[in-house]
Symmetry: C2
Subunit: 337 residues, 2 copies
DNA sequence: ATTATTTCCGATAACGTTTCCGAAAAAGAT
DNA sequence: ATCTTTTTCGGAAACGTTATCGGAAATAAT
């Protein structure tokens, strides 16, 4: 399977390889007629420029690395799809890696990508991230990088975030308006910007209604986290009227546990989740959840990254905050008695 | 950000670049002492071999393309993770693309990957695949390629398949033993090997119990497919005693529709799904489902591909059939009256 | 002590492009 | 008709590696 090169095309037409190159890159200093001729002949011969040779001389890999905590559940895949769409459109290839919520794996993955000369990175941190210093050094070496959703305040880089404050506030308000007053927020990792903002929204909602009987538990994002926390609350007889969870999985874990112990949802306890998982609509009762614009998050991050890559000088790191919606379902709606 | 090259290392130690190269590739004709010296100095200088230059001369991209119908739901991501694990371990990078269940997109994606000089491909076809000829030509040009799960009989290439026949038979038998006799199988696309094998198992189970009141409907894999088919059955008053669906999503779609129309699961209709989605355990009633060894499928496919790439001559295309399990849950268990 | 063998390393050619420089040919200006 | 400018192209260097070949030094064999 001998592959055919630019030389073969040049020879076939009795032109120089420079000319063939010019034809393929649509340079200004080539006669349109010869260009068409070359392109036609090249197509005929089945010639395709070797991307690797091109990358070598251009000193760019046209690879973009994306690092996410996981892509088993639908949230991150949806973001990735959004990003991949715009990146592929612009001629980039995408390398996806998972940290499996491990700070160490995340670091190793990122380093692998950097060593493989990615032109840029799109990252969402794992829950308990300890790589701040590394990311700071990456940013300062000027490798283009965009963070989305899960990030840390200390890192000064372009970010695409969800408006966690606003929607946490809104969701809490929804619960309060339904008549629930003793609410617990199951939060994610306390260092994440996202967690801080949601807590702020949670508190401000209470403040707005002059309530102060709320509580925050740093449980984590997973279903197991939800289960464990619910069990603890039951054991300690501190079951609240409502729960606002860090994720749908956490919410569902809690919900299942409460149900197993005879609590009825939403009669005894109302529950809200976050990030609109696949399941929310289909479990019983259907789960109220904040929906994030996953696709848009991915697209925005990708565009921000490309802007940074192709326009390095003029680039100023910015934080883009995106909006969402609250899908209200049975799990948080007080029944009419 | 001037990157440092093999030349810099060579100059710093007053050796030739050949020697440095030898040190990094652990060739036999280098003195262990000088090798260590070079490696140490290189690390000190922060030198990393440029993978692109290496790829160019070795005429290998060390990229592997994976094409799947989608990676929103958990099945394909899990397979991909399995594959990625072994590929990264062996120094390959992974490019993932989705066909979105479109034959055209699938073709375009695959061509993009081939043009980008992937060293091999791992593919799972979209439902209604029309690219047989292209795949045949790919196989004949000897680009290493492995198909998994969704494939076509006409394609002669290494395949990693689930033992659909066995588990369809087993699942149907389970339903029959529960006392359900009028069973409908909601099948996937009729051209896929997987569909044919499942139908065969479905039929053989009936044969085994000397039953013949079964029916096959080619519905498709999605939740909507399940909903539509269920609605049709209700409208036509042809609701069976049990349903064996092509996927969990199809099963859940049907289940919801039946429930909405007042049927009770499993009292009025028993339902079984396929592929153990995230949701199966958590919906109500919990869904019986055939579980596939997703991780192992990915690993096996990757190993098969690597074998093919690195050992091209001696390679004979083989089909590997993997085993699974049936997770029996409420949705298919006849209640004791 | 001489020859044969091994061990180790350097020089140089590749890999397939793009880019830079310069020059021939064509077109325009005077 | 001569000079200037533009258009269009070819030659050669460069990108950072690995692979091939050959040769010097070191070791072993006779």
């Amino acid at each position: 399977m001998k592959s055919i090169t630019i030389k073969d095309v040049a020879k076939a037409l009795n032109v120089s390889i420079s000319t063939v190159s010019r034809a393929f890159n649509d340079k200004y200093d080539i006669n349109p007629n010869t260009r068409d001729l070359i392109l036609k002949k090249a197509k005929e011969m089945g010639y395709q420029p070797n991307p690797i040779a091109r990358k070598l001389i251009q000193k760019r890999s046209y690879n973009i690395g994306i690092v996410v905590p996981e892509f088993i559940h639908s949230f991150f895949p949806k973001v990735i799809i959004g990003a991949q769409e715009v990146l592929i459109e612009k001629g980039y290839q995408v390398l996806i890696m998972q940290s499996h919520e491990s700070s160490i794996t995340e670091l190793r993955n990122t380093k692998t990508l950097v060593n493989n000369m990615v032109d840029g990175l799109i990252i969402s941190l794992c829950a308990e991230d300890k790589n701040v210093e590394y990311y700071k050094s990456l940013v300062s070496t000027e490798i283009p990088i965009v963070f989305f959703n899960r990030t840390l305040e200390e890192i000064e880089a372009p970010k695409v975030l969800f408006d966690d404050y606003k929607w946490a506030l809104f969701t809490t308000e929804h619960l309060i308006r339904q008549g629930y007053t003793r609410i617990i927020h199951l939060a994610g990792d306390m260092n994440l910007t996202l967690t801080k903002n949601r807590i702020k929204g949670f508190k401000d909602a209470h403040r707005k209604y002059k309530l102060d009987d709320f509580k925050i538990i740093y449980s984590g994002f997973s279903m197991t986290d939800g289960e464990v926390t619910a069990k603890t609350l039951i054991d300690k007889k501190k079951v609240p009227q409502a729960i606002f969870a860090s994720s749908d999985y956490c919410a569902i874990g809690a919900m299942k546990t409460f149900k197993n112990f005879g609590y009825s949802i939403p009669k005894d306890i109302a529950i809200c989740g976050f990030s609109e998982s696949d399941m929310s609509r289909h479990i019983s009762p259907p789960l109220t959840s904040v929906e994030q614009p996953t696709h848009l998050i991915g697209q925005t991050a990708a565009n921000l990254l490309i802007e940074q890559i192709e326009n390095k000088k003029a680039f100023i790191p910015q934080t883009i905050k995106l909006n969402g919606s609250l899908n209200i379902r049975e799990s948080s709606v007080k029944l009419n008695l």
